[in-house]
Amino acid sequence: MVFNLLTAAFSIQWAILVQGYFQFSHDGKIHLGVINLIYAEFACAVVLISFGAVLGKTSPLQLLVMALLEVPVFAVTEWAVLKYLKINDSGGSILIHLFACYFGLGVTFVLYRPHLNEGHAKANTSYQSDILSLIGTLFLWVFWPSFNSSLTLKGDDQHRAILHTFIGLSASTLTAFALSAMLNKNGKITISDIQNVTLAGGVTVGASVDMMITPAAAYALGMMGCTACMLGYKYLSPFLAQRFRIQDQCGIHNLHGLTGLISCAAGICAILMADEEMYGPSLYEIFSHRAPVEGDPKLHKLQILIPGLQPGLGRTAREQALFQVAAVFSTIGVSTLGGILTGFVLKLPYLASPSDVFCFDDQLFFEVPPDYDSPLKLNNIDDSAA
């Protein structure tokens, strides 16, 4: 938790500078407003998601270096994708979640610890820590609509974004409980599934959240994302750990990678199906790069209907969809490469990586209170007054 705070604070400051340089500087100075903070917070979210892949296996120095390297890579990717590829990604599913996931996987691939493959004695939870972790999940659940809707256009788009996110989250919550009971030998619900998988719906609706996908589609996306995430936790993560040397500690590939991919596919479908009949002239506001080019007579007609409409690139739906695909592949490529290079930097001996025995242990870095060493209570032992 404290490392999270440290990394977050560092990332936000660094991101304001880096993103400011790429996106917000005029006349040699970076202009600051609340929008910078929002973008910086997104960059911070990227770093924290990647942190999840290496949770417990790094020292704070390594985390700071990871943030130092990840934020510029993210900023450059974001700038390049937004400026040159010009895609529609309001909830950040492509730019944030996919990037963070594959960067984290890249780092953890390089930082592979063969002895951790059989699990670690200290890498388990307690009853109280699980309940505390659930608070975090519920905070994320409650405020996810704000996350998805912060960069959308005001008015109908933001309204749709909030409602779609809420619906997606609701669907994935129900499905998470159902699948958790279904995939368990005794039919019991696993609390870590609830902590992680209920949020899958929010990521899955991310790329298409402000488009006119109907509420039913938001539901379907929520269910699909949740199913993919749950099956990933149960089958894909162990497979990756054993065969591909990728030890994904928090399972970020399931929650952010798989759901991000589904979200991109959904976004592409929504873009292909968007037409003027459904959206009216506001089609050219949401998909601003589909607006007619400067000098096109159609632009004038639209500007009468929507004053202030900016000229775009005159792309067709197919072209926009192709650009989205290009963005997905380039994001995954750049982030993986960046992750692997960062992993090599993190292996420097100066950065004090914890040894295998001391993974998942606060005692290496913090002063701990006297009751720290009390033995962990195992499950299924009935120790109430019997």
């Binding site: 519920l138 659940w141 008015g155 409602l163 919550t173 499905t175 009971a181 109907t214 539901y219 109430s384």
Partner: protein
Amino acid sequence: MAPQYAPSLRSRLAPMLLVLQLGFILIYAFYIEIESNVKVYGITFSNLYPEFQDVNVMVILGFGYMCTFLVRYGFSGSGFNLLVAVIAIQWAIILNGIENWYYRGKIRIDLKSLVVAEMCAASALISIGVVLGKTNPVHLILIALLEVSGFVLNEWLLQTLLKVPPLNSIMLLHIFTAFFGLMLTRILYRKGSEQPFEKEKVDRKTGLFSILGTLFLCVFWPSFNSVLVDNRTPGRRLGAVLSTYLALAVSAVTAAAVSSLSSPEGKLNPIHLQSCMLAGGVSIGVSMPAVHQPWEALPIGFTAAVVSTIGFRYLKSHMLLAFKCHDTCAVLSTHGLPGLLGWLAHLLLQIKDCDDHNSQKAYHLLAQYTRRQKFPHLAVQK
């Protein structure tokens, strides 16, 4: 006692949830669409988003963590709270829109319908608090569906037959849910309730989590009470926020006092403080449309806390023995009685403020009659 294995949820919970979710998808696909042409700074959307998030936090974090007070029921308390809330919200959106569907063929939803649905979900969550620890999640889903249906039906009856304004009918959720839950627990009475349950205990750590939930509820209660207040009369929403805040403050202080008074060693019981602090919010919520001055909010909070704390202390065992209702979260004293008190306060305040000529005449006649009885020599000559 040897552990007894509960029937597996795999064949019961999972199919039920999946079928329910698919059913919702089908209904939403055919009948629900999102309201378009939302005014950017109008009444429907931007004004409402911060309050919507506050209500959202209350429903998901506040109620969820308040139900983790039981020592071995933490996961279920907060986890099932999320599950029931989500089901209830989806179902409530559909039910609240049925009237629209009947006349127009489609239900249009916007942020306000989400807020109203969250309040209906809050009523479902309070009901499951009454049976907390004694049911399994399949029961809880059914309770959510039926309770929300009953509540929306009740609202419709009040609005259509008795012409009650929508705000008032929603705020009566506290009374509805308390008695719904009590009857539920009466029917689900178990023989084993006669002895105190071995696991129905509060621990130091879980008590703290529970207080965390209560604090979330307290902090955001003014939004809960004021989000549906009509802001066309200037200052009405501010009035609602202020009255709620004051009532909560007064009830917290009073609850501490009464809790200390009613304990044999004069100690404070933290559970009293938690639950009875909320009693002020409950009763001011029910009486809010009639509260126009700040001074009216304070005695409402005061009385609510007194009634609630005394009720908490004595009613729980009484309800169990006399009425066979084992109320886990003491919802009767937290929501039922303060709700009724709020209703009474509403009635009295409305009579006081009434401009109706007939009742003024009646009031004067009453005054004259009493004067004549007490002071015959001062009787006004008619």
